[in-house]
Subunit: 319 residues, 2 copies
């Protein structure tokens, strides 16, 4: 059984991992997860990508919303509304735009307590994934604080969740920064997972704000560069559109063609193979002109079976 | 209208304040509240006495339990159970014994966030009481960390909530410590409230673990000593029993007679008048032998009307 390390953002990565878990042994999978989206709200430490992956793989995610837990209630958040009237200027209020369900809060409370007790985010994450009965390894890209900030044309510089959730990513992004990435340490487990994996996968996540933070970590980027011949990326752009989220617009705003060929340009330094959707089969020559091999298959994970088929194709692309 | 400052623990103080608010202008009342019971659970900063008073005065307390909010749900706490199985040794788990309802959590989340943002507990408390529409001033005894710890015959030294909630105060206490009290600063608003009040009231709270932490703060004790002629204490012991909680047992374990006379011995240095219940009218001479005047009235606050009548008697005792 080959060992597989997957670089992950949130929803797209979670769906891919769910497919992968159908076709390989769970203990052979390591997911290295973006923490640039992490935030502190209401005194709690929140790791959206880690939780989206955990809840998805545990079959506990709300399928309609795509985030948070199914069957959730919102009593705590509703009760917090009372305090919005007295909150002084300068205090960060996210009550009205960042959904935190009562059961979801338990995850953030556990994580927050463990971090306060001196545990690393890696330790807390290992405990949380074990609590959900998951057999794969979920590794935060770093245990240090890295925060993605986007500069927008209309609203200036924003914390990632302000841009993504509060403004529903409907703003033109002129710059993306990963604050803290230059000094954040990369855990040895992360570089080991890249150095020893038979297959490295860059999940179909937003290359700029989901995979970007991982690439901004020097030692992680170094390990990924060493693994290039074993690395396959999955294009998050299908027919010029992102399956979910603002990737296409953000790429265009960054001067990158929002197409599978643009993705090839972005990932050619990191991956030796790019998996693109059948609708983009015509781009094969354009893609391979960047020095990256192109594999064409069905990449839209509309069902567990299609996610499993994609995972199998991705593994086969390297083996 | 006289200004009234009340030294407070939790439930008994809350009921007295509710009575007081029926007979005097709310803006003339300042409550100085014990924070030795405060704790951190699940990453959240919890102030049980402040919250019991706030919820009681806002008519939001659960009347059956005597703590927390009426009509509460428990989804977050139930969801936290999942993590108990993976919690490593040394991590503090209170899930199973410290009740935190979903709506109550909102208060702790707001407080925790404000403290993280650099607000003092006094500021956060002022915001929270304003959010509940309360017109009195609620002042934590200190903005610094003081933690009541009890040494027990059977279980060694315990944090207060471990003793009080987890072990349901059914342990013999051999010593009480207020960790941090020697260096904790007393806000000027607290000493001012004692220096300027027409009437100072020591609420019918546990003298050892509810009022004790306040007396352990040197500047607060100094201001209270200066106010002795204006200070009236209400005995929390009625007919040799505490209305609620372990006060009688704790007094006995500390070598103090668990009676209104024992209370007189404890409070004589601080108060010029002690209000005791009619059932203890026979102790008047014994009480006054400690150099404290004795006022006999109905002190059992079985209804709002009786609480109001007690408050009126207490005010009259000084005026």
């Amino acid at each position: 059984m080959p060992s597989i390390t997957v670089l992950c953002g949130g929803v797209g990565a979670a769906r891919f991992l769910a497919g992968l878990m159908q076709v390989v042994d769970h203990s052979s999978i390591t997911a290295i997860v973006n923490t640039g989206d992490d935030t502190e709200l209401h005194g709690l430490s929140i790791s959206p990508d880690l939780d989206t992956i955990t809840y998805t793989l545990a079959n506990a995610i709300d399928p309609e919303r795509g985030w948070g837990l199914a069957g959730e209630t919102w009593h705590s958040l509703e009760a917090l509304e009372r305090y919005e009237a007295v909150r002084p200027e300068g205090s960060a209020a996210a009550t009205r735009w960042f959904g935190l369900g009562d059961r979801d809060l338990a995850t953030h409370m556990y994580r927050t307590q463990r971090l306060r007790e001196g545990a690393s985010l890696s330790q807390a994450t290992a405990e949380i994934t074990r609590a959900w009965g998951l057999g794969l390894k979920l590794l935060p890209m770093t245990d240090d604080r890295v925060r993605t900030e986007v500069t927008t044309a209309s609203h200036g510089r924003l914390a990632f969740q302000e841009y993504f959730v509060r403004h529903r990513h409907a703003l033109t992004v002129t710059q993306v920064d990963f604050v803290g990435a230059d000094t954040a340490r990369v855990p040895k487990a992360v570089t080991d997972a890249l150095d020893t994996a038979d297959i490295v996968v860059i999940a179909p996540s937003n290359p700029l704000v989901s995979i970007g933070p991982l690439l901004a970590l020097q030692r992680l980027a170094g390990a990924l560069a060493r693994a290039r011949s074993r690395t396959v990326a999955i294009s998050p752009i299908v027919g010029g559109q992102a399956i979910k989220g603002p990737a296409a617009t953000m790429l265009a705003d960054a001067g990158i063609e929002p197409s599978a060929a643009g993705i090839a340009a972005v990932y050619a330094p990191w991956a030796s193979t790019l998996v693109v959707d059948t609708v983009d089969g015509g781009l094969t020559t354009a893609i391979e002109s960047y020095g990256i091999r192109c594999v064409v298959t069905d990449t839209v994970m509309g069902s567990p079976a299609r996610a499993a088929a994609l995972a199998a194709s991705v593994c086969a692309a390297i083996r």
